[in-house]
């Protein structure tokens, strides 16, 4: 068992490092004259950024730092430069045309407990949605299975550029969603309902799954111990212990029971939130919260949990008795209570609109800097990649966006995206169609 865990960690490291040499920046690039939103250390007017070997090597005021002689220098005066945006939940690479089932690999609904589903097995690197998304400055994303199961599978963290899934899947099985919103009940249609058709059923089934995984873990631990003891003993006649049968489903839960990876705990209503949190505490799960869209009455409780929140989407309609801005103001309300928040599109086709959600939240009490952080550095921190992503800092991966204005505003046009220092061709299927028909 221990060897397996180590194996996973190796895959994780390999996955992240591997992209740099394969997806390689050829020549140093210098962006000069732009307005740099560093996220980590304020705004630099008339700044300079150097990208070399796929990394940011210089972030400074123009003229204050030496730049490599052989660099390609791009004048970005009048432009705004910021770190690549990170979408903390998408279905990118799992869907192409929503209504066309053959293009969807979103979720297995045959069972509710499916932790052994890995989105990397379905991730479609050539999806037309990926260029569309990155053209608006989104460079990285969590890819999650759709939330129709309580445990639909495990998320991957991707970079939205690369020639293959191998290059794009930076961290496989980075986290596991646990959905407890009521939508996972099998109660529709009414005459065909099956277990679990209630929240009680959902909770009982989840609890049993975690208990089974604990039991499984114990079997393997016992086996390993017996095997070690047998290896030490001189008694040649003693039979070696029988290896337990592997169970992929239970095996998948173990890193989460061990607190090695985070559960993404999704709930909307306050009552669901508390039930889900209790369940997570029962099994000592490490978690971040997801949605909390209708948990306004318990935001102080959310703050006391001291965990980050993937908030929203804030476009969720309020309840009939609630004011129109009840959900719009949620990010501001959480921020006021000191909760670390991130935004997510919770979508695939519309993932490109991620920054506008952050912008809109500022109209309802979220400070601007926090809004920008919620789609950059906060996300990098939550996903454990803040040493590589989320801000304009020397040493980080060169995921850099150049736009003609405020990244959070719908009017802003992204002019160039760099991913790992690579100048990404600013084309998509949509642009090809535009050019084919415009100007006829």
């Amino acid at each position: 068992m221990r060897r397996q865990v180590l194996g996973w960690l190796q895959v994780v490291c390999f996955g992240f490092c591997a992209c740099i040499p394969i997806f390689a920046q050829q020549k140093p690039i210098v962006l000069r004259g732009g307005r740099l939103l560093t996220v980590s250390h304020g705004v630099i007017e008339h700044g300079v950024i150097v990208m070399e070997g796929g990394k940011i090597t210089v972030v400074a005021t123009e003229g204050s730092a030496a730049v490599p002689k052989n660099a390609r220098v791009i004048d970005v005066s009048g432009m705004t430069v910021y770190p690549g945006l990170i979408d903390s939940e998408t279905n990118l690479g799992l869907t192409e045309i929503s209504a066309e089932e053959m293009t969807n690999d979103l979720v297995e609904i045959s069972e509710e407990i499916m932790p052994h589903m890995h989105v990397y097995d379905a991730f479609h690197a050539e999806s037309e949605l990926i260029p569309v998304t990155r053209l608006n400055g989104v460079t990285n994303a969590i890819v999650a299975p759709q939330n129709k199961d309580t445990l639909p599978g495990q998320d991957s963290f991707v970079q939205l550029a690369g020639r293959s899934a191998q290059e794009m899947l930076l961290i496989r099985d980075i986290a596991m969603p646990l959905n407890f919103t009521g939508d996972q009940r099998r109660n529709i249609p009414r005459d065909k309902r099956k277990y679990p058709s209630t929240r009680m059923g959902m909770a009982a089934q989840l609890r049993q799954a975690f208990l089974d995984a604990q039991d499984y873990q114990q079997h393997w631990a016992d086996y390993e111990k017996k095997k070690n003891d047998a290896a030490k003993t001189e008694d040649k006649d003693k039979k070696p212990p029988t290896q337990p049968k592997r169970d992929l489903k239970l095996e998948a839960l173990i890193p989460y029971l061990q607190g090695k990876k985070p559960i993404v705990l999704a709930a909307e209503e306050a009552s669901d939130l508390e039930a889900a949190v209790n369940l997570a505490h029962e099994f000592n799960l490490k978690f971040v919260l997801n949605h909390v869209s209708h948990s306004q009455p318990v935001l102080d409780y959310v703050a006391q949990l001291n965990v980050p929140v993937i908030v929203g989407p804030i476009y969720e309609a309020p309840k009939a008795f609630e004011r129109y801005d009840t959900v719009y103001s949620l990010p501001g309300q959480l921020n006021k209570r000191g909760v670390k928040i991130v935004f997510a599109s919770f979508d695939a086709h519309n993932a490109r609109n991620l920054p506008y959600q952050a912008g809109f939240a500022t109209a309802f009490g979220l400070p601007y800097d926090e809004a920008l952080k919620a789609i950059t550095l906060n996300a990098a921190e939550i996903w454990g990649v803040a040493d590589k992503l989320g801000s304009l800092d020397a040493g980080k991966t060169a995921n850099v966006v150049v736009a003609n204005g405020d990244p959070l505003d719908v009017r802003t046009d992204v002019k160039q995206v760099f991913i790992a220092g690579q100048e990404i061709p600013m084309v998509s299927r949509q642009m090809r169609l535009r050019d084919q028909y415009w100007g006829q």
Binding site: H349, R352, T362, V410, D413, L433
Partner: protein
């Protein structure tokens, strides 16, 4: 909170609301909104401008307006003022009664009969600055039924929310939805051939029906006392109204080839099309739409949700506009309807619409599609005083309505507690 606490909180809220009502202008008062950036839509922006409202209408607009000193003055504090936004494709306030999906031709369905005027979505959309919406049928049927135009006077009764004198629209559809709905039941239509056939068949029947009535009326005119009226048929009557040009035809249609087929069929039967809705491939045939004076009500950037939305591009609106098509950005969604201003702002991003062009897509052009552009959609003298004072720049991520006026009266005020609606009483 205890029940007593809730009750006293409610009382305070009510009290505050009633105080606010007393101070707010009513339709028969005279109001001046001053110190605003007035975005007129038709004649540019007026900085440090004023709008004078009298009897629910715009009585003057400009740098200075001649208003009596008795008029209530609202200092906009330099904020932007736009016309009330107009959503030319909405399905709010219809509960689950959007589609009578039991037959592909149901032109006799009247949306007014399903209009749920108490739906809170009307309020939430009002809070997004929308003052007029066209409530349309869904797209399960090739011909769905007749629409309703409302003003978002949430808190008033049903009839007070109807847009007085608005022309009647009828909703047609095409493409995947009718095909899917009936095809999944092994019924006609299950192909685009079937779609257009059922539509053509219905129109042919309507021609016969219309002829019977024309003959009858001609007989009456000649003084023929023995003339007996044909039997009235609501379905045929509605289609005859289409053929007679009495209804504005609004067609849900995605693919370029279907846009052309619908245009050909309209020509064949001699009726006019007002607008194509969704029209995500309109950019491919924009010249033909422009030549025929047909508008589009489209999304800013929605795409990929079904096969016929696969060629959708966010430049559609601007390409069509540049080629002379009247373009509106619509919601078709309880959600987008609450932030049409942002959706319009995206046309600045995708294709470089000017500020005025972008705003026009959610005001005057939308009004034209509904057929009420002589009444609303711009800040011009004589038009209804449907206005929005904005916090933030309206065509950005940050634009949020501060106050919304309809017919000169405040229906939403962000600064008020609870719902922010002077005309709405909780619990009623």
């Amino acid at each position: 909170m205890t029940r007593v606490a809730i009750r006293s909180a409610l009382l305070v809220a009510l009290l505050l609301a009633s105080v606010a009502v007393a101070q707010l202008p009513s339709a028969h008062n005279e109001v001046v909104i001053k110190n605003a950036v007035v975005m007129t839509v038709t004649h540019g922006n007026i900085s440090n401008g004023s709008v004078y409202i009298k009897d629910g209408k715009i009585a003057a607009v400009g740098k200075e307006v001649n208003a009596p000193s008795s008029a209530t003055v609202i200092d906009a504090g330099g904020k932007y003022v736009t016309p009330g936004l107009i959503d030319s494709h909405s399905h709010i306030a219809l509960d689950d009664d959007v589609n009578e999906a039991t037959s592909p031709i149901t032109p006799q369905m009247m949306m007014i009969d399903a209009f749920d005027y108490q739906d809170k979505a009307i309020y939430r959309v009002l809070a997004g600055g929308v003052t007029t919406s066209l409530l349309l049928h869904g797209s399960a049927n090739m011909i769905g039924g007749q629409a309703v135009v409302i003003k978002h006077k949430y808190g008033l009764n049903r009839d007070a929310m109807l847009f007085p004198g608005a022309p009647q629209s009828i909703k047609f559809a095409s493409g995947e939805n009718p095909k899917r709905v009936y095809g999944s039941r092994d019924q006609l239509p299950s192909t685009r051939m079937g779609n257009f056939e059922v539509q053509r068949e219905a129109l042919v029947q309507a021609q016969d029906y219309m002829r019977e009535w024309d003959d009858y009326n001609a007989k009456l005119k000649r003084g023929d006392k023995d003339a007996t009226p044909p039997k009235r048929d609501l379905k045929m009557e509605a289609l005859a109204d289409v053929l007679r040009g009495k209804l504005l035809v609004q067609i849900h249609c995605y693919r370029a080839d279907e846009l052309l087929t619908e245009m050909a069929m309209a020509k064949e039967f001699g009726y006019k099309l007002r607008a194509f809705h969704h029209a995500l491939e309109a950019y491919k045939v924009a010249d033909q739409l422009a030549a025929n004076g047909i508008g589009i009500a489209t999304f800013s950037d929605w795409w990929g949700y079904k096969q016929e939305a696969w060629d959708a591009i966010p430049w559609n609106a601007v390409i069509c506009m540049r080629k002379g098509v009247r373009v509106a950005i619509k919601s078709d969604s309880d959600d987008f309807a609450r932030r049409l201003n942002q959706e319009a702002g995206k046309t600045i991003h995708y294709g470089g619409a000017t500020e005025e062009e972008a705003l026009k897509m959610i005001t005057l052009n939308a009004a034209w599609i509904i057929g009420v552009d002589d009444r609303v959609g711009s800040i011009d003298v004589g038009k209804d005083a449907d206005l929005v004072i904005w916090d933030g720049y309206p065509l950005s991520s940050y634009g949020v309505p501060n106050k919304v006026f309809i017919d000169g009266d405040v229906y939403f005020d962000r600064s008020l507690p609870r719902f922010g609606m002077p005309h709405y009483r909780e619990g009623e």
